[in-house]
């Protein structure tokens, strides 16, 4: 065991740091610092910069355009990206549908879809949840009925993050209603521009609509868009869920936010003549979160290390999801409390993509109240933290 970076890894870290310093556009950095959302065009632009560098897909195999990095290098890259505030690739293409295509797609499908994902030419979204199928995902009802060379798709999907931007959606659809619910599901790719596809934004508690409902009304989908075998979709989706768990623990993001929290606390009055950082209760709780982050970071590093010697990622990813999201939420709570009355203004438009004005609240605190509200999603999405605990009970504890 050895905690020190090798000279090669240290050099790699410097290279990544320098690249981000020079290539992540200052305008985007300012926006991220101010909590303003990047637009679709800006996110795509940044992805293309990464692609030019050859760093768009750290976790892909080399033959598909991945980097071939070691787990330590991947960790360094994710950490430096997070500390800079540079957005991760939109996960739906890069991290979700691409591994399924690589594992179960035909050569033709891989040729057709992967290069556009790598180059960020196409925006994907995920079609799993339905209005009546949340944690019990396998109960989904959106149907795909074979009709010659096509499937006819009818139904509704929900919670589609950035569905308003998407060109394509990967869906779990029901292709057999006569068998056990998990055994009648298929994995189907659908062009969002097909006739019969429509979407409706869902306004969330923070005033934004980053998620949508998507409706399918007699949508004709070419049968060649089916991944793998009919009725095997549940298996593929499950593999995907344990396969791609990079950065599920949000360690880089939480590291960045904790540093920002410490800085903000040092500059804010405690109302008693000192700074909030000098407030013993606040400072003690802040240290508690910093300690939790160290435990989480090493839990993640140990998981990555076990992957690198060929073990498959197991329920460890459930631990990382639970602890990572709950820590992120506790950091949000500290920001909320730190802001006091500054956390209360409800001005979502200040954080919209195009916002050019001056935000109402002091730097570092602007919008933290809204972040607190928005991040309640973290323990709900991606398999709620209760579902993750069920996975631990079943897969590890044998309960």
């Amino acid at each position: 065991m050895n905690a020190d970076f090798s000279p090669e890894d240290a050099a790699f870290r410097d290279e990544v740091r320098e690249f981000l310093q020079n290539e992540f556009p200052t305008a985007y950095r300012d926006k991220v610092d101010a909590g303003i959302r990047l637009s679709k065009d800006e996110i795509v632009h940044w992805q293309k910069i990464l692609f030019e560098k050859g760093w768009a897909a750290p976790n892909w195999p080399v033959e598909h355009g991945g980097t071939g990095w070691s787990p330590t290098q991947k960790h360094i890259f994710a950490m430096e990206m997070g500390l800079t505030g540079a957005p991760e690739p939109v996960p739906f293409g890069m991290k979700m549908v691409a591994p399924v295509l690589m594992a179960y797609g035909s050569g033709e499908q891989q040729q057709r879809f992967l290069p556009d994902i790598l180059q960020s030419n196409v925006w994907w979204c995920q079609g799993y949840s339905e209005p009546n199928s949340g944690s019990d995902l396998a109960s989904l009802k959106t149907s795909a009925v074979r009709d010659g060379d096509h499937y006819i798709v009818n139904g509704a999907k929900t919670w589609n993050t950035y569905g308003q931007y998407a060109d394509w959606i990967f869906c779990l659809v029901r292709t057999d209603t006569t068998v056990k619910k998990q055994e009648g599901i298929s994995f189907l790719l659908i062009d969002m521009h097909s006739p019969g596809v429509s979407h409706k934004p869902i306004v969330l508690l923070d005033g934004h609509s980053e998620v949508n409902e998507i409706f399918f009304d007699e949508v004709r989908v070419p049968a060649e868009n089916l991944i793998g075998e009919e009725n095997k979709g549940w298996t593929y989706a499950k593999v995907l869920l344990t396969h791609e768990r990079t950065n599920i623990a949000l360690v880089p993001r939480s590291t960045r936010r904790l540093r920002a929290l410490r800085r903000a606390a040092a500059s804010l009055d405690d109302g008693q003549g000192g700074s909030m950082l000098e407030d013993p209760v606040f400072s003690h709780r802040l240290a508690g979160l910093e300690i939790e982050l160290k435990a989480l970071e090493y839990a993640e590093l140990r998981t990555l290390a076990s992957l690198s010697v060929g073990k498959s990622p197991g329920p460890e990813s459930s631990i990382l999801k639970i602890v990572g999201t709950e820590l992120a939420q506790r950091i949000d709570e500290m920001f909320l409390e730190l802001g006091a009355y500054h956390s209360l203004p409800y001005l979502p438009e200040q954080f919209d993509e195009g916002f050019q004005g001056t935000t109402l609240e002091p730097g570092g605190l602007a919008g933290q109240g809204l972040v607190y509200l928005n991040d309640r999603k973290l323990s709900i999405f991606g398999g709620s933290n209760e579902v993750q605990r069920n996975i631990i009970c079943k897969a590890v504890l044998g309960l």
């Binding site: 065991m1 050895n2 905690a3 020190d4 970076f5 090798s6 890894d9 330590t72 400072s283 003690h284 802040l286 240290a287 508690g288 910093e290 300690i291 939790e292 160290k294 435990a295 989480l296 970071e297 090493y298 839990a299 590093l301 140990r302 290390a305 076990s306 010697v309 460890e316 631990i319 639970i322 602890v323 209760e386 605990r389 069920n390 631990i392 009970c393 590890v396 504890l397 044998g398 309960l399």
Partner: protein
């Protein structure tokens, strides 16, 4: 970065693991706990023969290498079986303090004897009122005709009743909480004026309150420069604290395993209680606590073995002990709760494990103490 065990560490783990599994079951431990000294002299000889007593010492002192990761590997296995032999107080604490502060003659005289199992040491550091602050020392050392006279009292001297010699922290100068002016003296446990009141701690290990009533020792009993012991004390205690974390990780794993097993066999309302989701999720949380406890303990050990500045190594240790304190509360209390009434009984090992980890929770500082120390070290950096 590398998270794999070396071949030697793997062998050490297997060797210690095999011993505790085959020769240290719960009944055996109970017999040892009930014996007069509270540990097995026979086991101690075996540890010496196997070379285990050399692990926390540097090669130049005749040791195995003094790696915190090696020590972690051993302590975790010891923790699984609630080992009672005085490896921590005699070797990891007092032995390493002697190695850190002693001159060539002192080390030559004592360390080889310690490593072959012929000498037992204990460290007397804590006082009533010092809580976890190593610098808070009232016990005084004053020069008198070429000798030193020690006056004061120590609490929680682990292994104090059975040790041959005591390493005693004493104040030669400075304020009660000052880090300057502290020295460590070697004192025979049987020396005139040393009054040992022996007892057992809640984890069944033996400890003592010891009064030093005008105890006279020669100048040569001082380890290191007069008044200059604090830095070495802090570093030795950091290592010992990381070792305690590893011991707790082992014990917590056993608590989790036993709780899950019990929940699968104990039936109520016609079904195993482990089928109730209200209990399942709590056991999932226990598992998470165990994993985080292990991860942060690994971090502390790796940092101790690294080239990082001492301040950040100490911060890593405090982070670990703070986190362990919380994990111990959670896993220990939940293990008893999920077992129900039977978890309260002296008959079942669960209650002994709970007592063991509660002792480890407080030893060298609880979660609040180490969170505050972590903050102090962070802010100083």
């Amino acid at each position: 970065m590398d998270f794999s065990y070396s071949e030697e560490q793997q062998m050490l783990k297997e060797s210690v693991g095999k011993f505790v599994r085959q020769q240290y079951d719960f009944d055996t431990r109970n017999r040892i706990a009930a014996s007069e000294t509270g540990y097995s002299e026979e086991n101690w000889k075996l540890f010496a023969e196997l070379g285990w007593l050399t692990v926390p010492f540097a090669g130049e002192d005749g040791g195995f290498g003094d790696s915190a990761v090696d020590l972690m590997v051993m302590m975790e296995e010891f923790g699984k079986a609630m080992l009672l032999e005085p490896f921590l107080p005699s070797v990891v604490l007092a032995g390493r303090l002697l190695a850190a502060l002693g001159d060539a003659r002192q080390k030559e005289e004592l360390l080889p004897a310690l490593m072959v199992g012929n000498l037992q040491l204990a460290c007397a550091w804590a006082e009533s009122g010092s809580r976890y602050n190593l610098a808070h020392v009232r016990l005084s050392a004053r020069g008198e005709g070429g000798n030193v006279v020690l006056s004061g009292a120590k609490v929680n001297v682990l292994h104090g009743p059975n040790a041959d010699k005591l390493l005693v922290t004493a104040r030669e100068s400075g304020a009660v909480t000052g880090s300057d002016g502290l020295s460590v003296f070697l004192v025979d446990r049987d020396a005139p004026g040393v009054d040992v009141r022996a007892y057992a701690n809640m984890d069944a290990s033996r400890a003592a309150r010891i009064s030093f009533n005008e105890v006279t020792v020669p100048e040569s009993a001082r380890l290191g420069k007069p008044g200059g012991a604090y830095e070495a004390l802090e570093r030795v205690f950091d290592h010992a604290t990381a070792a305690v974390c590893a011991q707790a990780v082992g014990a917590l794993d056993t608590l989790l395993r036993k709780t899950v097993e019990y929940s699968k066999t104990r039936k109520q309302f016609g079904v195993p209680i482990g089928s109730f989701q209200a209990l399942q999720h709590r056991m999932a949380d226990m598992f998470i606590e165990c994993q985080l406890a292990r991860s942060i303990t690994v971090m502390a050990a790796m940092q101790l073995d690294s080239d990082a500045p001492w301040q950040s190594r100490s911060a890593a240790v405090s982070a670990a002990k703070s986190r362990l304190g919380r994990a111990i509360r959670k896993v220990g209390q939940e293990a008893v709760q999920i077992h129900g009434g039977i978890g309260m009984t002296d008959e079942l090992d669960v209650s002994h494990l709970f007592r063991q980890v509660t002792g480890l929770e407080l030893l060298f500082g609880d979660a609040d103490y180490h969170t505050a120390r972590f903050t102090r070290l962070q802010n100083a950096g």
